[in-house]
Symmetry: C2
Subunit: 433 residues, 2 copies
């Protein structure tokens, strides 16, 4: 049997889903599709009340932008930061070309490579997303500041190309970063409407980096599934993302890199990721009023305190009958607002995370069992030196919410523009400069 | 404004979903529904390619069985094991009655309690599942062996009621359990088609246990979303669950407790949960043939080695031309098969899990960064002493797959029958005996 090229059109398997179909086309000596159908026929207990359609929608991969930035939020994410282990720029370029090719396949709903029935060969794909649809998978790649300069060394002849905005994040008050959970030379950010599709994508890409880069830290996250019709709620129970930039003007001003360059970043953006553990037990123990004063919004509606609807404008000057500010001075929404931050906005794509129970408290010291759960914060922005860094410096020092949180992992990356068409790869303009 | 009772029928919010609607009905001084609609109208960037329907399907809560056992597999799970801290049986009974009441609300798509706009009150529900549908949420509760007897002490006068089948799991070769990740006096197993709904349920129930029980360990998991039409694949890339008991005869024989009693367990079952870390890097590095020899099945089709379709019978006597067994002597599927285990079957509801990257190797010792990912194994069975315990003793000692895995958390519990109707609660027959 001839192995099927997984990029060739072929018959769609059951349920008319786009699928990682090369796998099914290459089973030694039998018709895999028939096997799958038999499985379906004989497993009546599964899907008796099957909910939802097959997740076969595809997000475009090639284009002016990388995916997963303005893409409507998917319900799952998987993020990885990697360390480059090679000393050779050509290895790095080869990895980026390879990653681009693999990501193009995965986002189309295919496997990472054409799978064969050769039992002596190592599989090019681990297989757990076979039969699953593309599920709107997006993947983007980024370059951390340490890729350009590490301990003063210009590792790959790229130091002159390092953007002014791409700086190692400073230490913030309350950070609980381990050496291993801060930074990363490369980032991979996958989002999909199926958790297994998102996990699978990062797994294949980390694997493809063998010999060139190794995993530094990784974290998955979830959101409402399918993403609800409104602003989703985070684990604080509050709507999160209400003031995201949305108009083309806002995206141009605050998300996409413009003429400021460097040239290889024009049309790109910057990503900051922070894993923010939340002391859910303590949070749940305070009153509704105390929660709303901490955030500065009403919990149910998402409206700013004193207003009635989620998208009502934030009035930071409003005072109550006794002359006190309606939005407290240390409320999260005030300190993070564009009004208090030179008009800056960030495009946040937050996901909840839960890593089960750990035996450390919020201060990082041994304590009773507590959930390691919270927010996997991810924000795309044009200028981290003017947006995330100063805003978060304020928040870490003064935000009432910060008393409930600890930042336990962190990364910053330059996200170059998308590969415009097949044959081009992410970061090519930088690495071939 | 009068707080709305969250069990009362009310207008459905946007998108005609069943919803945790009490929250929206009780916002101080404004029409929350209108706020939500404004949010929807003004957030065009969300859901431009919204996939899937609102997840508003409801699984029954009251009935002869607890939920989440034979319920068609949902795409997400959240499991928790708790330690009872009270010395008083009445507190335990009160907790079970309270848990039953809360689970009935949550599985119907409501909040854990009626939410008010009283800013001075602590919220009865943390709120992150407001606006979300029931998403086929199921919750079941279980009793660990240490609830009956702990260090020889009959803690609650229940020792005489401890089922013979409910025994502390023995130590198995290769176990890497921390003291804190083995066991638990009580278990909560939630499954839903929305990860936030599953997480939310366990969070509310742990919170409701305050003063009576505390969290011991917890783990979430994911599966294909929505569950695919066939047997799902685990992170090994293989179909998992092919030989699950499915017919009424099989379920009666191998899942549901019968006349053997004790009486309070008739119609119940037993749950064994194991968090099984998989060395994905090493697994991905071996050949397809080596993977298939390890499992004993073809990866693509799920068929037993030498057969062509997933549900073909496992022939453990088949030999190849040179007289060697087609299914190797140490293949997982052989050692776990009913044929090799006195006909025993377990109803497995496995989920993948990923907790990000840890700095420990598969042996539990410090090592390079590696994914803490694998399988959250959960199996319902009539008789753990005849099923999980002897089967896994064999697997731990001899299964070729065991060289790729480490068990890092564990629990066993008696799952009593369901509360037959409102007003009755889980475990009532035991605790009021």
């Amino acid at each position: 049997m001839v192995p099927t090229d997984d990029l060739e059109p072929g018959p769609r398997p059951r349920r008319h889903r786009l699928s990682r179909r090369a796998f099914l086309g290459a089973v030694g000596g039998l018709t895999a599709g028939a096997g799958a159908l038999i499985g379906f026929d004989r497993a009546p207990h599964r899907n008796a009340t099957f909910e939802g359609p097959v997740l076969d929608a595809v997000e475009p991969f090639y284009g002016a932008r990388q995916g997963g930035i303005t893409t409507p939020t998917q319900s799952h994410t998987s993020f990885a930061a990697l360390d480059v282990t090679t000393d050779h720029r050509r290895d790095l370029a080869h990895l980026l070309a390879s990653w681009t090719s693999i990501a193009a396949k995965l986002t189309a709903g295919n496997t990472a490579g054409a799978m064969t029935a050769d039992a002596s060969a190592t599989e090019p794909d681990s297989g757990e997303a076979v039969d699953l649809g593309a599920a709107r998978l997006t993947v983007n790649f980024g370059f951390g500041p340490t890729l350009f300069t590490l301990d003063g060394v210009d590792r790959f002849g790229l130091a002159a190309q390092q953007p002014m905005q791409l700086t190692v994040l400073p230490a913030f008050p309350g950070d609980q970063l381990a050496a291993s959970t801060g930074g990363g030379d490369l980032t991979v950010h996958a989002c999909a409407d199926d958790p297994q599709v998102a996990f699978h994508a990062v797994r294949q890409l980390v694997r493809a980096a063998a010999g060139v880069a190794t995993l530094r830290w990784s974290q998955g996250g979830f959101n409402e599934a399918p993403a609800s019709a409104g602003t989703p709620r985070n684990l604080l129970g509050f709507k999160d993302g209400t003031t995201n930039p949305a108009t083309d003007d806002q995206l141009s001003s605050f998300v996409w890199v413009g003429a400021e360059g460097p040239a290889w970043m024009t049309g790109g953006t910057y990503l900051v990721v922070r894993r923010i553990r939340i002391d859910l037990g303590r949070w749940d123990g305070i009153s509704l009023g105390a929660q709303e004063q901490t955030i500065g919004r009403h919990k149910a509606s998402g409206a700013p305190l004193g207003k009635s609807a989620e998208f009502d404008a934030l009035d930071l000057h409003a005072t109550d009958a006794s002359g006190r500010p309606v939005i407290p001075a240390d409320a999260h929404v005030r300190l993070a607002s564009p009004q208090e931050n030179w008009g800056q906005m960030m495009l946040r794509r937050g996901y909840a995370y839960s890593n089960g129970v750990v035996a450390t408290g919020m201060d990082g010291l041994p304590a009773d069992h507590a959930l390691d759960a919270g927010l996997l914060f991810a924000a795309y922005q044009r200028a981290p030196r003017f947006a995330f860094i100063p805003i978060f410096r304020t928040l870490a020092a003064s935000d009432r919410l910060a008393t409930f949180t600890a930042h336990t992992a962190s990364a910053i990356a330059a996200i170059p523009p998308g590969p415009p068409r097949p044959g081009r790869w992410v970061g090519q303009q930088l690495l071939e400069a």
